[in-house]
């Protein structure tokens, strides 16, 4: 499953913050509590020392009872046990609030007027529950604020930071190597993205130039082949005039002759393909496909007659499309010949033309063609067949050039090629 990068980084941040804060909250409580107790103890000891230094020398024994009466938190009582200073927790019942309050208490032995007493000082402590609650609340607030803040900041920041990246991405998505439009990548002040853009530009440039040289190679090769082929053809044409041959020799010459014309066709179709790719047919005009179909109908009917095919034409609507007229003719001829070539004897062909699409259906082999690579060059479904394996590639190229879609389907023992004129 793919998710946005933002989601992934935020998720990690969020998990980390939650873990950190939940772990640090008890720690914080523990440390706070300890500091608090230490501070309390220090205060108690300080109070005792102050008492011993300033109060005890001036406090007569008779006044002790009075002292105890007015001092809630420091009591001086006759000694109970002669132990050393002790600090401990204790609780006293608060009669006003009607609950037990925690206290820290210091018991120390002191001498007043030569008599031993127990000095007992206490400080009211914050209730543990209260402390815990406050800390929990504090941390919860921090977590929430952190998360919201983090989310907003990353979102805002990522939109800003990733903007050049997204622009580059859009450009690359639109890029097609066989179209002449080159992507324009805007430079940014972010080093990584600049690097990315530069590498992509380099990559595209290199690939485009390789693609162009390859395309040129095909066209040049096909062109260069024309002259030797012409010579080959001419020599055979002259040779077959030269004398009487035996039947065996005639058969050989015939097969030689067929091979040359096949070679010629193959070469011309390759040339046509590279011409389409090189935008030699870029001018387009509005053409009526009904006329295009009818133009060479006689020729195709003648071809179909050799196989005793039944042709059904359904040209219900006058269909005008924008295309190069030569290419439209080639498209229809190829579709037509394809339907004838792969047909069975006494088979049928159905041609349906509407404003939306052009459909050629034909009977033929009883299983569907393998769609994978169907429209690629030289991908023949049946290697022994007569076709040169370029017909469908040419059809596809022309459809692509006009932004039409070509699709293949098989049902009711009919192979159908449909060209949809709807722009993608």
């Amino acid at each position: 499953m793919t998710k946005k990068l933002l989601y992934k980084t935020s998720k990690v941040y969020l998990i980390f913050s939650v873990i950190l804060l939940t772990v640090s909250a008890p720690l914080f409580y523990y440390i706070t509590a300890r500091l608090y107790i230490e501070e309390t103890d220090e205060t108690l000891v300080l109070h005792k020392n102050e008492f011993l230094k300033f109060t005890a020398p001036t406090l007569p024994t008779a006044e002790i009872e009075n002292w105890n009466k007015y001092n809630r938190n420091i009591k001086i009582e006759p000694i109970q046990s002669g132990s050393s200073d002790t600090l401990f927790y204790t609780a006293y019942y608060d009669t006003l609030d009607a609950e037990l309050e925690p206290y820290r208490e210091l018991n120390a032995s002191i001498i007043i007027d030569g008599n031993p007493y127990t000095y007992s000082a206490r400080i009211n402590l914050v209730e543990t529950e209260d402390l815990k609650e406050s800390i929990a609340l504090l941390f919860l607030t921090i977590i929430i604020l952190l998360l919201v803040g983090l989310f907003i900041i990353t979102k805002k920041l990522s939109i800003h930071l990733w903007k050049p990246f997204n622009e580059t991405l859009n450009q690359i998505e639109k890029f097609e190597i066989d179209k002449s439009i080159q992507p324009k990548l805007t430079s940014t002040n972010i080093e990584e993205f600049n690097r990315l853009n530069k590498s992509i530009e380099k990559l595209i440039e290199k690939n485009t130039s390789i693609y162009h040289s390859q395309r040129e190679f095909v066209e040049n090769a096909a062109h260069e082949l024309q002259t030797p082929l012409a010579l080959f053809q001419a020599k055979i044409d002259t040779f077959i005039q030269s004398a009487e041959f035996t039947n065996e020799q005639y058969e050989m010459l015939s097969s030689l002759n067929d091979s040359v014309s096949r070679l010629n066709r193959l070469n011309k179709n390759l040339l046509l393909l590279s011409k389409i790719e090189n935008d030699n047919y870029s001018e387009s005009e509005t053409i009526c496909l009904n006329d295009t179909i009818k133009k060479h109908l006689d020729f195709f009917l003648e071809q179909a007659k050799a196989k005793n095919l039944t042709i059904k034409l359904e040209l219900s609507e006058i269909t005008n499309v924008k295309s190069n007229p030569v290419l439209a003719e080639i498209l229809i001829s190829n579709l037509f010949l394809n339907a004838i070539r792969h047909n069975i004897s006494h088979g049928q062909i159905l041609i349906k033309l509407s404003n939306q699409s052009l459909l050629f259906s034909n009977s033929g082999q009883i299983q569907a063609l393998v769609e994978h690579n169907l429209f690629n060059r030289f991908s023949k479904s049946n290697p022994s067949e007569q076709g040169n394996g370029l017909g469908l590639a040419i059809i596809k190229k022309i459809a692509d050039l006009n932004h039409w879609t070509i699709s293949y389907s098989f049902s009711d023992n009919l192979h159908s090629f449909s060209v949809s004129f709807q722009k993608l």
């Binding site: 010579l231 055979i236 050799a306 070539r341």
Partner: protein
């Protein structure tokens, strides 16, 4: 008839020459533009075959020169380049026909004949061969003076066969001639048989001699025994 072949591929020029020779064509050859221009300014030809790609320049220059010298030779461009632009430019500069390499010599033959007919016999479109009389303009055929019912395609085939008299014509050559622009896509030559059969029958019905001979395995031949 005098012909000038301007073609740098000598072997191809020789083949054309030897094919045309038997049909009373006298062919001269020029292997580059300079030689071609020399010959053009010195002699008159009935027809010029011009390759556009010459070692010392563009074939269009020769067309321009012909125009400048007000020469009226018919010119057929022979080119490996088949773009609409070069065709249009060729025609604009005064070329009469355009044939793309590779081509069948039989096709070139009928193109030359048609061109010469157009140039030399203005208004006269009659082609006669013994008892057969073809009017290439009104598309009618008479055998022994009687018009026969014949399709345009069959007339085309007849002209092609007669034009290449005594030559073995392969089925693929006939198929390509009959299908014209569509030839590049054609991979089935079965329809040639049907056309030949129909034409044979029509000529036979009009009590014409049997000129169309089958050449075993290869094709057909128009021959007067």
């Amino acid at each position: 008839m005098k012909l000038l072949i301007i073609e740098d591929e000598k072997e191809l020029a020789h083949s054309i020459q030897s094919y045309l020779k038997s049909h009373h064509f006298v062919c001269e050859m020029a292997i580059d533009g300079k030689m071609a221009l020399n010959k053009i300014s010195t002699y008159d030809y009935d027809c010029i075959l011009l390759d556009l790609m010459l070692p010392d320049g563009n074939g269009f220059e020769i067309l321009k020169e012909l125009k400048k010298q007000k020469k009226t030779e018919g010119v057929i461009i022979i080119s490996a380049k088949e773009t609409l632009e070069t065709k249009i430019e060729g025609f604009n500069l005064g070329a009469d026909d355009y044939i793309t390499k590779p081509f069948h010599l039989s096709e070139l033959m009928v193109r030359i004949q048609a061109l010469i007919r157009r140039k030399n016999f203005k208004g006269n479109n009659l082609i006669t061969y013994h008892e057969i009389e073809i009017d290439s303009l009104s598309k009618t055929v008479k055998v022994n003076g009687n018009a026969i019912d014949i399709t345009k395609k069959e007339i085309d085939l007849l002209l092609y066969l007669i034009g290449n008299e005594n030559k073995v014509l392969s089925k693929s050559a006939i198929a390509e001639h009959l299908s014209g622009d569509m030839a590049d896509m054609l991979d089935n030559h079965d329809f040639v048989y049907a056309h030949i059969k129909n034409l044979k029958n029509k000529l036979k019905d009009a009590s014409c001699s049997e000129y169309i001979k089958t050449v075993y395995g290869l094709g057909y031949k128009w021959k007067n025994d």
